[in-house]
Symmetry: C2
Subunit: 430 residues, 2 copies
Amino acid sequence: MTDGRSLKVALLGCGVVGSQVARLMTTHAADLAARVGAPVELAGIAVRRPGRLREGVLSELVTTDAQGLVSRPDVDVVVEVIGGIEPARSLISTAFENGASVVTANKALLAEDGPSLYAAADKYGADLYFEAAVAGAIPLLRPLRESLAGDSVNRVLGIVNGTTNFILDRMDSSGAGYYEALEEATALGYAEADPTADVEGFDAAAKAAILAGIAFHTRVRLDDVHREGITEVTASDIASARRMGCTVKLLAICERAADGRSVTARVHPAMIPLTHPLASVREAYNAVFVEADAAGSLMFYGQGAGGVPTASAILGDLVAACRNKVSGARGPGESAYTMLPVSPMGDVVTRYHISLDVADKPGVLSQVAAVFADNGVSIDTVRQQGKDGEASLVVVTHRAPDAALTATVETLRGLDTVRGVASIMRVEGE
Amino acid sequence: MTDGRSLKVALLGCGVVGSQVARLMTTHAADLAARVGAPVELAGIAVRRPGRLREGVLSELVTTDAQGLVSRPDVDVVVEVIGGIEPARSLISTAFENGASVVTANKALLAEDGPSLYAAADKYGADLYFEAAVAGAIPLLRPLRESLAGDSVNRVLGIVNGTTNFILDRMDSSGAGYYEALEEATALGYAEADPTADVEGFDAAAKAAILAGIAFHTRVRLDDVHREGITEVTASDIASARRMGCTVKLLAICERAADGRSVTARVHPAMIPLTHPLASVREAYNAVFVEADAAGSLMFYGQGAGGVPTASAILGDLVAACRNKVSGARGPGESAYTMLPVSPMGDVVTRYHISLDVADKPGVLSQVAAVFADNGVSIDTVRQQGKDGEASLVVVTHRAPDAALTATVETLRGLDTVRGVASIMRVEGE
């Protein structure tokens, strides 16, 4: 309990997000005090390079000694927005040892080491909040952890990376190729100079790990998440999707198996019907669909990144952590009681859209169809187009285990009559 | 604290929602126990007519003595799904006096008497949760109260009544008139035998009062909410909306005034552009847009009614109330520290779509335009159509105070050249 004194907050990192946290804490100080029940003060701001401070940040609070800041006995809550594994992990550990609660946006650390963080929070009677780690400003983790606490979540399907959604949206609306769209995203500040974490799906995979763990009350690590990025998505894939009444999105999908005994988590580009609500999520917006036994389908939509929206999520968590400090209460800890195992990608049941370049002669279709049948994969539709002795076959399958679909494609690649597999993409959202 | 014993829940009401609460508490008992940290048991179910029990309800728990049930000293949480003001209010009071926390879906009672309920909960150290009172299964109140606790909400704009959305959606998609669409809604179970509470906007107005109070940290009563239902919406209004690239929705709109010094809350049909995300909310679904300073635009979408989805929201609250009982913590109480006054409808700034039957002769348009100008209302577009000496004028205004728009319409009614005002509808969502 804090016995009426003000609460002290240590801010680690003062970049795009941190500077907005500092600004909002100052401009909203009166509201925060009213909502927490005590004044909330910035005790210090740890930065690596004090010379690069943003306008409006209180320079007298700035220090380069982050370890010293989190060790201060008067700090009640530590807000960590440095990102990455170290030194964030060590600083958070020290904060907990010191009895401080932690609010973090660090998806990489949570996906790698969430259970240890929860355990440390628990050991020292502190709280761990991280709404900002997934889908920025969108209230998503709190509803999953708390509002749906009496329900059973079966599926989470979402657009959780704004950079890739911006790129795919541009490819879809302008017919641009991947590199052209990436260039535009970079110029507009939606993609970083090194876009690997976004375009290769690492960022979305970390979020999928966090979402799956919370949704299914189990533990899912980054390594458990099947990950494919968008660098191989072509203008022709997008055009094929259009012909099917679909668009292409990078989706994070967490599912409970039909028998309820395992879960899967994956990130990959997929075609979804234009009628699906996620299809209309434009630019850098995020949206997440949640399917629960009793609640049915829910959707959460908003800005998934950016300094100000992310700071909103952090301040929401900060109010919760401070309120708990004031009342002596504790926020929710880890809920991993189901301990459901994570199945490999091969077990995921999905649909494939496969585009093949084939010889334009009789019998090819029947030969190709036999490969699908041999692998137990049922075909939904086939479109055949021929010109000058070459033809293309576009096959859309019914639902089948990913392993069977992969095996089918492997066998197709070995056929003499198949000149090449032009593209493979999963179809979701029905 | 409960010291490891199981938690006892009294259920008041066992209709469409209550029977699902009882069912889910039984089927999800193991999950609930794991999430709460102690077993959660039904202690009793109070009904008015025991003969009308639904299948699967444990008949040995049923009683007609609701007052006796909530007075039992072993009851930890009371779930109230009777609805209406009395006897719900008295039963909830007794529950609090008895130290029990209350989970309710009772929007009417909350809109009428929320502050007294909060005060009683506070006095006896109990919790009051009511996620299910607004937008059924959609996690909305918890995100507003907690996730956005560090932000400043400026506007809440939503479809919060499934019955009227179903009716308007049918009118829009089939061209049906209001009564025809109402009949279909009744036949399909979306409208009650007496649909007044839904179609006259009372249900949505109670929800708007609750939303406005929470969003702006103030108190808004049902009487403060301007209310218009959908009974006067015609097939021709819907057709006019279509011609403007709009559709008609019954919206609940809560706004903070531009100067931040007052709030407004209102429920009325309005035209919204087809490109607005709320326009694509079909059938009996609900969706709520929230605009906050830092978070930007957020949308929450899902099923707004029905026994099973509503029971999901109640169970989420039940888990929170039980967890608090186990840990000795308290949930959030009333936050009404801004005490912002509620301004009347006349102060609301909005746009009108007005359809007039006028004499088809020179000078009419200039006469009509002068009335708008005299009232300080600027015209956005005018469409004029004449036939057989009669003409219709469709005027869409720019944004202006509702009082000025109302005064304009009143003056227009008095003009000799205006034969009648065929329809007036507000335009929102830009």
